[in-house]
Structure formats: C-alpha cells, structure tokens
Amino acid sequence: MTVLVFCEVLDGKLKKASREALSVGRKLAEAAGGDLVAFANDRAAAGDAGRYGAKKLYVTSAGDYNTETYTAAMQAAIGQASATIVLLGGTSNGRDLAPRLAARLNAGVASDVDRLEWTDGKLRARRPVYSGKAFATVEITGTPAIATTRINAFPAEESGGAAAEVVEVSASTDSKTKVIETNVAEAGEMSIAEADIIVSGGRGLKEAANFALIRDLAHAIGGAVGASRATVDAGWIDHQHQVGQTGRVVSPNLYIAAGVSGAIQHLAGMSSSKHIVAINKDGEAPIFRIADLGVVGDLFTILPALTEEVKKAKAH
C-alpha cells in the first residue's frame, strides 16, 4: 500500500498545505504498513519531502502548474508508484487537479477533508458540507482513493527522514491552456486560505475606510484580513477576503471577528476555527454563541487599543 502526496513548492520549500498532506499521509501509510511517496515539480523538494517521511519524490519536468500536463504527470507517477491513496493539499491547484485526475482514472475523490482513516482496506474521510453546517463521513472504494486535505486541519509534523530518492516522471506535455500572466495581489496581503490567524471585519465597521482598523490589527499580529459578506457586497473590500458560505470556509488557530454579527452563512464558514474572539457592541449578536472570548463593546475604541497592546506584547 502506497500513499502518494501531490506537493507544491514555493521558493524552494514545500507549501504548508503540502506539508500537512504529507503528515497525514505518513500516518495513513504507517497504519496500513505501507510507504509514503511524494510528487513535485522540483527536485530541490527531496530534502523537505524526506523530512516529512516520503521515501521517494516523483519529479515532473513539466514546469509550472498546468491542469492538463500535471494530470498526465500525476497519472504517470500514480502508475509508477502503484499508489493506493492519493492526497493533495487543498490549495487552488490541488482543488483544480484532484477532480480532473479522478475523472481520468475513474476514481473516487473526497474534497476538503478534515479527517482521514484507513479501515478495512478503504479510505474513510470526514468533510464539511453545507459550508460546515454538517459533516459527512464518506467511504471511497476503488483504487486509487483520492482526497484533498483541508488547510489547517492536519498538523504538519516532521518525522526526520533522510532526503527522498528522486524518480523522474515523464508524461505528455500537451495542453489546451497556457498561463500568459500572473498578477500578484497587493504586497503584504496574506490569503485567508492558509492563514493561522484571521482578523475579520463586518458591517459594524460602518464604512470602507474603517477596514484600516482591521488591517492594522492583522498586520500587527501577522494575520490575514477577513470580511463578512455584507462588507464585500457593499464594495468595502475585495471578495477574496470573504469568509462564509459564498466565500472561503476557514479554520485558523485564531479568528478575531469585529463588528460581525454572525449570520448563519458566516458562522458556517468560520466556526471550526480553534479559538474565536468576538468584539461587538450588541451583546445579543449570534457571533457570541460560538466565541470563546466575547467582548461587548465599541470596536472603534477596542481595536486601536488591541493593536497597541499586541505591538507591546510582540516587542517583549
């Protein structure tokens, strides 16, 4: 039994989502008495992959991510490795590739899973549905069983292995798409998808300019800026920041919500955060039902005070 993990490399290092997928992949392989192997587009990842327990690293020379060339390369790697389980971190590329690959291989796939176990020769996965209003446990039959892992759901844990053995994979490089340009978002903007800490603003901010209070705090803490749907729909902030049912479902370690009342769609998108702090002037706001620490008060005075306090704490 072999577990193959699709890995993405950024600046010569494995992305967090890939390290998380390798970590849970290793546990599955150990439970089944099998091996963990990895796939990447850069042989420089062999050291990193080994540290997370991968014995081999299948390397494609296909260059940057492209749906079709990577589907072909992964198909080849899965064949060479005789992979029983294929995991992909739930990044944009992982989520783009997994379904294409599953259709190519007539295989079962579960998206955005936050628990995985190998029982009786089958992969069982738990995944949020209805944006986290419920959880479905699914069983995948057939080989390979494919899953994309939810970011922040599995801790990244090194196992201290030696560098993975590099194995080249060659596959068709035909594609009907090409990337002609990549536009990077404003400098310093962290994506809510991968953030450990998110500071979110809601309608209580009253106007677009007041998102500066959220940005200042996020910047001081080193977190990402989130937003409620109301603020996005009002045009105060870009949709990429939206948390909730028609935005991103997130589960950071710490979620701070200021001026967010907590509509059901928003709660669904963030209630699996590990620690939740809410600041709202309405003591009856639904957000307080799920907050670990609720502060009933005026965000316009509390946020600046909090930003100062965080800066002080960081300076120590």
Partner: protein, 259 residues
C-alpha cells in the same frame, strides 16, 4: 456563441440543516431550494455573451422534478433553452453526476460550458473539472473575468494571493467565482417569456447510462452529523478598551498560543 450552463439546485443558504432519519441524508422536509449562488454568475456570464455575440444559452440540470423550477427561473433571467435530465441525483457521486452532464452536454451545440465554482451544498467543487476531463476540454477554474475571441477564451483565475490570466482553446469549461459579474434579476417580461419555453426532458437511459453507472459507485456517504454545539465562552464588558485589549492579548498568548 453557444453556451451550456450547468446548474445545481441546493438548499437556501439561510437554511438550518437537519439530519434525516437514515443519518446519511439531510431532512428535506420544508426545505426551500435555490439555484446554487455561484451558478448565478455562470448563467449571467453566458447571457451576456449571448447578448453580445448571439447564439443560445442552454441551462442544464440533473435531478428530480423540483429541478424544473430552477431551470424555469434561469430561463426567466435570459437563458434560451433548458434541458432537464430526470433522475435521483441524491446518491450519485460527483463523477456519476459528471458522467450524466457530459453525456447531456454532447446533445447540445456549444462553444463554452459554464459551472459555478462549487455547489453551495455538498461543496465538492468537483463536477466542472470532471466534465472537462470526460469531454476532453480544457478547464479554467474559479474565474473572475472572461474574454472571448475566435477559438479561444482568456480567463482570470483566482489563486492564493494572486490571479492567473489563462488562455484556453474552445470548447472549454469555465467555473465561475463571485465577482465575475453582477447577476441580474428576472424581469416580468422574462418571466412571461420563460413560461412559453418548453423544457426538454431526458432520462438517464436516454443518454445511454444506467443508475448503476452513477449511484454509489466510488464515494458513499456513510454518515452525516451536525457539528458539536459550541457552548459559547466567556463574555466580558468592553467599556474600558484598554482593559479589554489586555484581556484579549492574555487570551491570545495563554490560551490560543497565538502571540
């Protein structure tokens, strides 16, 4: 320019989800269904292309009879044709659904196939790319902007902290992200006109498929559960901002270990 827009019918996002008696499905009693929100962006984009370049917009839905209502709503907004593949989609896995849709799409002339980037329900984000693979088409996922030229499209794809501008040969599959456009509401005229359009109906067998091709083939839901009820934590008075800030920082350090 002919487009097919695949729509998923999902429970209204306001809905509180209840688990059905079998512990594997949601309780559909009293549920209100809507067109999945991302599909509205897909439909709007196809309608705009039709208005600019001519051609047809066919809305395609797979599922029980209630799907017809969503198809009718889509016609009222500006789709010109509708195709309903009748069948119990509830126990089909994503690849099963994709096989049905791919077979149905082949029966309709098209240059582009649109989906929402995910169905706001089972939240799989799988069917669009699967259909692309089954049809041998390129895909561009999570698209916020689309331009169409002869034989190709240029699409802006949202990724973490950046956007990619991707050129794809047509026919192609595009999955729509919020922000792609501002979907219109149906006009009274549109609603009246939609009533006159006959919705074409096909069965799975008409498409050369059997239930056994699509139901519980690869992925089976074993159980469905509600998340554990959060009890709510401590609530403090924030009348003194400095004191509140100190308490939040203490919480961040000691309990969340986030500083």
């Amino acid at each position: 320019m002919n487009s097919v827009v695949c729509i998923a019918q999902v429970p209204d996002t306001e809905t509180r989800i209840k688990i059905g008696g079998d512990g594997r499905h949601i309780d559909e009693n009293g549920l209100k269904y809507i067109v999945s929100p991302y599909d509205e962006y897909a439909l709007e984009e196809a309608i705009r292309l039709k208005e600019k370049l001519g051609g047809d917009v066919t809305v395609l839905g797979f599922g029980p009879d209630r799907v017809q209502q969503s198809l009718r709503e889509s016609l009222a907004r500006g789709a010109t044709k509708a195709l309903h593949v009748k069948g119990e989609s509830g126990d089909a896995d994503s690849l099963g659904i994709a096989k049905v849709l791919a077979a149905a799409i082949k029966t309709v002339p098209h240059d582009l196939v649109f989906f929402g980037k995910q169905g706001v329900g089972t939240d799989n984000s799988l069917v669009g790319p699967m259909v692309a693979e089954l049809l041998g088409y390129p895909q561009v996922n999570v698209v916020t902007h689309l331009e169409v030229a002869e034989g190709k499209v240029t699409a802006h794809r949202e990724i973490e902290g950046a956007e990619e501008v991707i050129e794809a040969a047509t026919p192609a599959v595009i999955t729509a992200q919020k922000g792609m456009n501002e979907p219109r509401y149906a006009s009274l005229k549109g609603i009246m006109a939609a009533k006159k359009v006959a919705i074409e109906t096909k069965s799975i067998a008409d498409l050369g498929l059997a239930d056994s091709d699509i139901v519980n083939q690869r992925v089976t839901v074993v159980s469905l559960e509600l998340p554990p009820e959060k009890s709510g934590g401590r609530k403090i008075d924030g009348a003194d901002p400095a004191a509140a800030a100190k308490e939040i920082v203490r919480y961040m350090k000691e309990e969340a270990k986030a500083l």
